[in-house]
């Protein structure tokens, strides 16, 4: 054995027409199917009750005040800050009103709004997982037991187990892989193709899926005590170091146009 010998295996060109192309076509079609399925399975957002909406929007207004405080003068900001602090102390902004203060955290399993959130998350995951497992099973059933092509780049031997699934030999170079590896390649590589066909909002691309799962974690957080959240916002408002965007705007403007006057 004089060093690594180039292993040559002659393959039937018909392999491509009967294996690679069908797998590719199936992958693309399932991607499109996944996209349309998740669009159809989306539930229309439910309307919120007036008091709950009011509570949320006042909180949003407080957050806007913190982020955009530079747009209004200090006096205006202080006026609003004090109004908000008074209202929170009275408790009139809460959904349950000033009397229901000691309600505590609602039980996650019985709160209907969060059930919807969890269902949505589960549906999304199902749409993702089920086609993948189905296709993997299909490939293992029909296309196993032989190598199909040679990868142009080498991999570590650990991949041999996964990519040469049905082949019995032990010395075969890792670069010779079975059809399962083509499945993995297309799984990752077809995302830009989905972007082209379905527009960028498609539900078939993996990266977007992961981000969606993170964003849907938020309904769970809404169960916490609104009183504490409001009190935290009041504190945040107190801490704000106010600066005014109009301070020095005329100098900035003149500097910007200094060359053209």
């Amino acid at each position: 054995m004089a060093g690594p010998i180039e292993q040559q295996i002659h393959r039937d060109p018909a392999l491509f027409y009967w294996i690679l192309l069908p797998i590719t076509v199936v992958m693309i079609l399932t991607g499109i199917l996944r996209h349309y399925l998740s669009t159809l399975l989306q539930t229309t957002p439910k309307k919120q009750a007036l008091l709950k909406m009011r509570e949320q929007r006042h909180l949003m207004r407080a957050r806007n005040m913190i982020i955009n405080h530079a747009q209004i003068s200090k006096a205006a900001f202080n006026k609003r800050k004090e109004w908000f602090a008074d209202k929170v102390k009275e408790g009139t902004l809460l959904e349950s009103g000033p009397d229901g203060k000691a309600k505590g955290k609602p039980n996650p399993l019985s709160d209907p709004a969060m059930m919807d959130g969890m269902m949505g998350m589960m549906k999304g995951q199902m749409v993702m997982m089920v086609p993948q497992s189905l296709i993997m099973g299909w490939i293992n059933a029909f296309f196993s037991g032989y190598v199909i092509m040679k990868l142009p780049f080498p991999l570590t031997p650990q991949f041999k187990q996964m990519l040469q699934a049905g082949v019995g030999t032990r010395d075969l170079d890792v670069r010779w892989v079975s059809s399962l590896s083509w499945y993995f390649l297309t799984l990752f590589g077809l995302q830009p193709v989905y972007n082209f066909i379905l527009g960028s909002n498609n539900a078939a691309s993996q990266v977007a899926q992961q981000m969606q799962m993170q964003q849907q974690g938020n309904p769970m957080a809404g169960a916490e005590d609104m009183e504490k959240i409001f009190a935290a916002e009041v504190e945040n408002l107190e801490v704000v170091e106010h600066w005014y965007v109009l301070d020095g705007v005329e100098d900035r403007l003149l500097a910007k146009f200094a060359s053209s006057i």
Binding site: R54, L246, E250, L254, S260
Partner: protein, 329 residues
Amino acid sequence: MAPIFLTPPTDPHTALSISAQANTFLSAQKTLWSSLPYPLSLFLNTESQEKWTSYENLFLALLRTGDHDSAYTCLEALTTRFGKTNDHILALQGLYQEATAKNKEELEEVMKAYDEVLQEDRTIFSVRKRRAALLRSVGKPEEAIADLTVLLDASPTDGEAWAELSDLYLEVGALEQAVYCLEEVLLVTPHAWNMHARLGEVLYMSAIKMEGGEQTKTLSESMRRFCRSIELCDGYLRGYYGLRLTTSKLLEMLRDGKKGQVATSDPVTGDLAPPSVATVKKLNQLATAKLGEIVRRGTAGEKGWDGYSEAELKAAKALIDSDTQKIER
């Protein structure tokens, strides 16, 4: 879809051009295949995001130009697609009835219909906004203000409602409240240069009524608001116009040298010091120069300078010319 259908018709000129194209648009929608029974019509689905926006804008334009029949066709199409109980559709239906009402009694009926809807479900904001608009159009601004206040208590992050409320306050002459409302709009959309310009205009209006130190303070704040709007949007004619007006007025006042003005910033209330005479002069020059450039290039119709409307350009020209007249005298 022609891009002209994608924005609502804000001025009469656009409304006219949209409604002129109405017939071609509507007939283009009625293709042979769309009247097929349900399963087959799915294949030739022409739905897109812009389709229904175009329908709505067309509807608004047709109502403005008085073509009620075609407007009704649009409304029907929208109702078929979205259902009768959709919030937005309810508001559009109310709008149609208001536009086609012939006398006061019919308007009263429309008002009653709104009240019924609101009694059933208080969260239908679109209908509440229509109610406020109706009250305003029949000449009851105080009631409209009350309506909008109720809406804003429930939804304080609605910039559109705050802007309308500030307009109503201006109508009844409560300038301070109008300023408060515009500030609220800025909290929601901090980079909206048209809102900065609007706030500058309202401050200018209130400064005219004041005297002495207060007047200088408000006037300089108004000037700074216009500066900010220009900083956010190059070539903003409204901003330059306001800047020119406020700086001219400020120059007059600072030249007269009223005693008893605050000369430095007040750290407690956060009031800024009035700008120096030199700065105001430079700003005045800048505004005049820019206005002149815009008028020149806008009327010549140069590429990249054609976004200004005729009325705007005429007003700017009048402003510049009034100054030159003073000098000539």
